[in-house]
Symmetry: C2
Subunit: 312 residues, 2 copies
């Protein structure tokens, strides 16, 4: 069976895996990304992780890397990710190929995770679907007419930077009103801290204790029925739903798949999101399903390998 190495380069965690062509993770290693060390340090981490993978005799055909965007997948160059300083213009594909002696493909992490869910997860066999990852930011990837959309410079599908509000909320990208600015895990965490500060005797603050309140505390409190937490969840789901309705009109998918850290609360968001699609989408679009990612946190890692095992 053919295998490939997938590498998921995150701002905090760097992961590598040996992946079979049927999507199984055969071996994996991870470490904390040496973000402060810059691209040369991280390149050394990557080669180290791959060398440490237990290949058990497998001979991977190539290496796929999912990295924070924007990046130029055609040129194999990292363009200037907000979460990784000093990477602007770094020729990751060429340098990693030289270090490993294997051919390398790179793409942004949203595209990689979309490919993972398409080939091996919640969107197997679909001709049209949208993958959205809701985490520190909001990213994604789109399959339309049976192909992963790449666009100029491989930059299609930056769904987090669709402008969804006139509100003067500044996004990590510097723009105002982006979906990411109002509905990402970062935005939700900010709401959690505000709620905890506004009611120090409340359930969210109690669960957080001395730590800053975050999405997990809100999720736990909401599952217990805490009204403040339920209100935060409803507002987040409303913001997610509005963006998803826009995406449905823009790309006409069969299904929308939600991944990323905040999808751990998907069951709490689901009713409000489903209601948004059923009432705010135009009639021809109202039967589009919104489902959680099947591969969870491994979507990007498996998808990175899929960049070379089953790219399109």
């Amino acid at each position: 069976m053919r295998t490939a190495v997938g590498i998921d380069l995150g701002g905090t965690e760097l992961r590598a895996a040996l992946v079979a062509e049927d999507g199984r993770l055969l071996a994996r290693r991870s470490t904390r990304t040496d973000a402060a060390g810059g691209p040369e340090a991280v390149l050394a981490q990557m080669t180290g992780l791959v060398a440490d993978l237990d290949l058990a005799g497998a001979r991977p055909v190539a290496v796929g890397v999912g990295a924070p965007g924007p990046l130029d997948a055609e040129a194999g160059v990292v363009t200037g990710p907000p979460t990784l300083a000093g990477w602007h213009g770094f020729p990751l594909r060429e340098r990693l190929a030289a270090a490993l002696g294997l051919s390398v493909a790179i793409d942004n992490d949203g595209h990689a995770a979309a490919l993972g869910e398409w080939r091996f997860g919640a969107a197997i066999g679909r001709r049209h679907f949208v993958y959205v990852t809701v985490s520190t930011g909001i990213g994604g990837g789109v399959v339309c007419d049976g192909r992963l959309l790449r666009g100029r410079g491989g930059l299609a599908g930056h769904v987090g930077h669709m402008i969804v509000t006139d509100d003067d909320v500044v996004c990590s990208c510097g723009n105002r009103g982006c979906w990411e600015a109002v509905a990402s895990g970062t935005a939700f965490g900010r709401q959690a801290r505000r709620a905890a500060a506004a009611d120090p005797a409340g359930r969210i603050a109690a669960l957080a204790g001395t730590a800053p309140a975050d999405a997990r505390h809100v999720g736990t409190a909401a599952r217990e029925g805490d009204p403040a937490a339920l209100a935060l969840v409803a507002e987040e789901a409303r913001r997610l739903g509005a963006g998803i309705v826009g995406l449905i009109h823009l790309y006409s998918p069969e299904v929308v798949v939600i991944g990323g850290g905040l999808s751990a609360l998907f069951d709490l968001f689901a009713p409000v999101i489903a209601d948004a699609v059923a009432t705010r989408a135009m009639p021809a679009f109202r039967d589009v399903a919104v489902v959680p990612a099947a591969l969870g946190p491994d979507a990007g890692l498996v998808g990175a390998a899929a960049l070379v095992l089953a790219p399109n």
Copy 2:
């Protein structure tokens, strides 16, 4: 030279043309759409227009129809356009093919116009572009990776129904906050009437006279330097620009082409739109050009013929 018949079915005007494979309009006829008569009456109008076309010996290979969406291009069925009552489920492709004895393709008018601009207009040779028509509503079509995006049921590219604001503005589709609701020609006309009512002695009201003020009056007043008109133009351009920035992040086009009735004021909007792209888009996207449609009001008509002459 191969030729085809293009038909542009609008809510107010029905047009047919003989189009050569190089995009030239060889003959044309038009009439006022008998919208009240329903699909059977309009079908008769279509066959009448085609019969009246001066073919000068040409033998068109097929017929392409652009019609208001949503419609199911694969099935050839009109789904339920807000501007045409009684059309829900009408099998336009089949009925027209039987009446004309020619094969017929149908697609929504946004896709048809995008195809026209791609094959014969402002986006010739592009691999990635977004066409936006700003008129009664906002529609469009998207070419990504060298293909016109169709999506499930041929419904991709309903760019007017991207949600761009939390404001409680009701759209023609029934939803709130759509780009179409705040930035279409209809929305701009509403602002024009408000401005005229607020200042009956002002330039916009004077130009309108006894008629309701509309986009043309605002355009004329703005070109004369009228401050109220310039403010309306700036606000409209800001709203168009915000949506265009979102579309650039979503589809990563090389160029955005703006057509539709309101593009008659494109020169007035252009500086604010260009500024939005230069300041609100992420750096990797800031060089994307926004240009007016080259085919003007004929984009949909020529593009309808392109549906059969050069579909993808």
